[in-house]
């Protein structure tokens, strides 16, 4: 699978996910018509990510958001009850999308090494298709209230644990040489995250996500072939 195929399925799933977010926050969104609510939520989320990723969520004022969306202050507050709740909605939407896409992408494959390659590649593809979301979640995680921050950390550790388990399976199947799989998974995650954290750098070098995925997988497999000392 290449990135182009992947992006279509993500775009297709997006409107469903906005509807779910609306269903999940019935007390906050006062707008009745679903079509209107979905359209404006998209505008709000897109504008919030754009502004917040430039100056930080704390520094983004609701007047900034009003200007960026073209909506008034009062209209904005029909979609969330406080700035803090907007933050929670953004984080939650991001986590649920990530979880769903990764799960459905892996359940078809059986071979351990193929599953490992797919996990790394899908994670990169998803972070490419939703770069503002991943950047935002990473940068704002520490400003969350304790309960939300815990969820964020658990989500991150779960991803890393997935890499680790797939590597352990690959070692058991003889596809990789024995290594400290937890450390290998941690280093892999760092390389994957760099793709969306330093996008300006990679874009400036005209590197595509497919090329980057090849390089990361190359590094993972090289590490798993050489004998540790």
């Amino acid at each position: 699978m290449t990135y182009r195929d992947f992006k279509k399925s993500v775009d297709q799933a997006k409107s469903d996910l906005y509807r779910e977010t609306l269903a999940r926050h019935p007390e906050a969104v006062r707008v009745k018509k679903e079509a209107t609510a979905v359209r404006n939520l998209e505008r709000i989320f897109a504008a919030a990510l754009k502004v917040a990723n430039e100056k930080g969520f704390a520094a983004m004022t609701l007047r900034d958001l009003s200007a960026a969306t073209g909506m008034s202050m009062g209209a904005l507050y029909a979609y969330f009850s406080s700035k803090e709740e907007l933050l929670a909605m953004l984080q939650e939407q991001h986590r649920s999308v990530t979880r769903r896409i990764l799960e459905q992408a892996l359940d078809r494959r059986r071979d351990p090494m193929e599953r490992l390659r797919a996990a790394v590649r899908i994670h990169l593809y998803l972070s490419e298709a939703m770069q503002p979301w991943f950047f935002f979640a990473y940068m704002e995680a520490r400003h969350l209230p304790a309960a939300e921050r815990k969820k964020s950390m658990e989500s991150e550790l779960a991803t890393e644990k997935l890499f680790e388990d797939l590597m352990t399976e690959a070692v058991a199947a003889g596809a990789l040489a024995p290594r400290d799989c937890r450390m290998a998974a941690s280093l892999t995650k760092a390389m994957v995250q760099d793709w969306y954290l330093k996008r300006w750098k990679h874009a400036g070098r005209r590197i595509t996500v497919d090329q980057y995925a090849d390089a990361v997988l190359d590094a993972v497999e090289s590490y798993g072939k050489a004998t540790g000392h």
Copy 2:
């Protein structure tokens, strides 16, 4: 060299660097006695990093900083003329320390592969000794005014270029197999940065900076030994 040896030399150099910062901002710091000025600048910088790394620099108020340092609002403003200048001073101090330590650590070594290992290891050691500074610089870079942000990006690219050049030398000397050295350097930098960005994770796993450095260097050398496809 291990981390313990390294830390001593860094701590020793610190007071010198505070004096340089004072000399560099004579218009901002109104306090005359150098000893007093250095002592309070240390308090202010340490408190600012602590508070800002928890809630973000934008969300840190000067009343927070007053409480954390035990100094009054008026006293704080004897050391900087605006919150924005405090930010610039922190970034500048961080850059000058990094540049100096890295330069003086590399000029003794000759062998390309040894220089590469030293560069990675020293970078990790320095980020360990000054973790709050590195975390702060990374997280707040995008909130800087354009001129400062440019300096920050150049500093980062310079570090990566150093890795790349050392890898190119190592390939020329036959110590590493031919690869895309710029990509290899980029991936290496991502792994190095993860050490100070996700310190809570590594600390929870009781991993020392020496162990982490071994793992990163292991990955670099494995990547440089296997043949790319």
